[in-house]
């Protein structure tokens, strides 16, 4: 067994087994630094650009801060719960959703993450195309979208390959790339401030506002809330490594929130000053003599983003299916993203963010309700039942599905789609310009889940446990074996 194989096997072991205090590697400041490196990436530049195209600067700044900080406050307790129990994110989710519904959400997590991979890869493709254009590369690679698509596929393959190599290569690659992105960010902040100045940025009108001011504002909030809520799928993978619940809480709260959102504010300023959405285009336009270097650094940073997504997804999948070969896990968690790597998807980032808000708002509402109002005191999570898959587990619920979580999922998602159809960007109930959609659907899922658990599922589960009916199901399944003996 090679070193990389050993490291990956060790990661799968570490991912599956609850981590003790002495296994934890991140103190408070370490954790903050790690989350900034993981968080600050192409998607913040893109959401900033989108916001700057939709609303003026004086609205864009508080909207970006609100959209990337307030949702994190709403879901911040997820950092605490996984630090407390040390369990992997999706393993722990079984306590809330039931073992089989958790698997459905695991599938949603992996498939929805293909979008993040696709955006980072396509940005690599755009950067590579613009980098090669002045070097006299063939027109097939630099004109239209063919070159960008081809390079995007290469970026996905390269990012997946780095993920395949294992955690040591990954660690150094992502650290280096985070520094590259910071260099790009600092340099272009200086360029924008010296070339345009804050006065001009604040006086600029957005290039692509929606039909009314209310729709523009609500849409800009929704884009950012989508990114803010998206972290709901990524807590446990990291916070189970924290040495304290406080460190886990603050690292995610600020690292993924206000600090990483500075990249979004900068993206908004550039979009307002230039009317350009694509970061690779403004690097080429504003970079002057440093444009080529900027594009190169940005391209490498996007491969790092792909790797930083594919690796934890693959480890999670392998943890769920321990016999799955590592190479296959990496392919399953990366290859389908290629289908999304095209200009249509790239130009509809807002639609993607809305779908992400739908999914993660619903998921986050249920998980947070469970922590705050359900799994307290005697109902605190029981680790063993999280790992026992079958009727003997208290988290088996009804055939592996928690009916309360299922109904809350449907209620939250239905309310979202009634309030905002992400595909047509219309509101069925007309409420979207006033209340947006992601945050209210979070609230709907939260309330429905908490109410159903308190009045229906918990009393029933307690009665079953006290009467031994949960374990009786297990005895039933063992009778044929006993009889055969």
């Amino acid at each position: 067994m090679g070193l990389a194989d050993k490291a990956i096997k060790s990661d799968v072991h570490t991912n599956l087994v609850p981590l003790r205090s002495k296994d934890r590697i991140y103190g408070g400041w370490d954790f903050l630094a790690v989350q900034i490196c993981f968080g600050i990436a192409a998607w913040f530049f893109l959401v900033g650009s989108l916001t700057g195209l939709t609303v003026p600067a004086r609205e864009a700044v508080p909207i970006i801060l609100f959209g990337n900080a307030f949702p994190l406050l709403l879901i911040a307790v997820l950092a605490v719960v996984f630090a407390r129990y040390g369990v992997e994110h999706w393993q722990g989710s079984a306590a809330v959703f039931g073992h089989r519904l958790k698997d459905v959400w695991l599938l949603v997590y992996i498939t929805s993450s293909f979008g993040w991979i696709a955006y980072a890869s396509f940005l690599f493709g755009q950067s590579a195309m613009r980098f090669l254009e002045p070097l006299g590369a063939p027109a097939a690679l630099t004109e239209g979208s063919r070159g960008a698509i081809l390079f995007a596929i290469c970026a996905t393959a390269l990012g997946a390959f780095v993920a395949y190599l294992g955690p040591t290569v990954l660690k150094w690659f992502t650290r280096t790339a985070a520094i590259f992105l910071l260099i790009v960010l600092v340099f272009f902040v200086w360029v924008v401030l010296t070339r345009f100045g804050l006065g001009e940025v604040y006086a600029a009108e957005p290039a692509e506002p929606l039909e009314t001011t209310a729709w523009s504002r609500a849409s800009a909030i929704e884009f950012n809330v989508g990114l803010g809520l998206s972290w709901a799928f990524w807590y446990g993978q990291w916070t189970r490594l924290a040495r304290s619940e406080s460190g886990a809480f603050h690292g995610c709260m600020w690292g993924w929130g206000i600090l990483a959102a500075t990249a979004g504010i900068f993206g908004a300023f550039v979009a307002l000053a230039t009317g350009i959405y694509d970061p690779s285009e403004w690097i080429a336009t504003l970079g002057g003599g440093f444009a080529a270097l900027g594009l190169l650094l940005f391209a490498v940073a996007n491969i790092s983003s792909v790797t930083a997504l594919v690796y934890p997804m693959s480890v999670t999948l392998r943890t769920r299916f321990p016999k799955l070969p590592w190479a296959l896990a990496v392919v399953v968690c990366s290859a389908p993203a290629v289908l999304l790597e095209n200009p249509t998807v790239f130009e509809n980032y807002g639609v993607y963010l809305a779908y992400i808000a739908l999914l993660t708002g619903t998921y986050g509402g249920i998980m947070v309700a469970d922590y705050l109002l359900v799994s307290r005191g005697v109902h605190a999570w029981q680790l063993r039942d999280i790992y026992v898959t079958g009727p003997a587990s208290r988290y088996w619920y009804t055939a592996g599905f928690n009916p309360a979580a299922l109904i809350a999922t449907i209620a939250g998602a239905a309310f979202y789609l009634w309030t905002l159809n992400p595909y047509t960007w219309t509101s069925g109930n007309g409420l979207f310009p006033y209340i947006t959609a992601g945050l209210p659907s979070y609230l709907v899922s939260f309330l429905v889940y908490a109410a159903l658990m308190r009045v229906w599922i918990l009393p029933q589960r307690d009665a079953d446990l006290l009467a031994g009916r949960v374990t009786a199901v297990s005895r039933e399944t063992e009778r044929p074996t006993a009889a055969a003996r």
Binding site: H13, L16, V17, P18, L19, R20, S21, R24, R58, E59, P62, I63, L65, F66, A69, F70, L73, A76, V80, A83, R84, Y85, G86, R217, R243, S244, E245, S246, F249, H250, I258, F321, P322, K323, G377, V378, H379, A380, W381, Q382, L383, R384, D385, Y387, V388, T389, G390, A392, S393, R394, R461, D462, L465, L466, G468, V470, T471, S474, R475, E478
Partner: protein
Amino acid sequence: MTTANEPREPGGGSHEVQRLDMPGLDETLRRDLDGRICEFEESHQRDVVQGGAGWVPRIRPVDYAVAIAVNAVIVIWLIVVLLGGE
């Protein structure tokens, strides 16, 4: 490790009555996992049920207060801007 055959309390530890039966686990991994769960059940489960710490020190109310205060400032800023009071 025996299989399930006893009534259980809602908040009670259950390691004496259930065997880990996750699909795909090899025996080494199952043993490690079982040991780790037993350690939590013996050392931390009672604390968690009583509102205490799990594996690591528990979060303090001041942590929540700081986050709420910062977000309150951002929310007020946003409301002021959207109402056109700037």
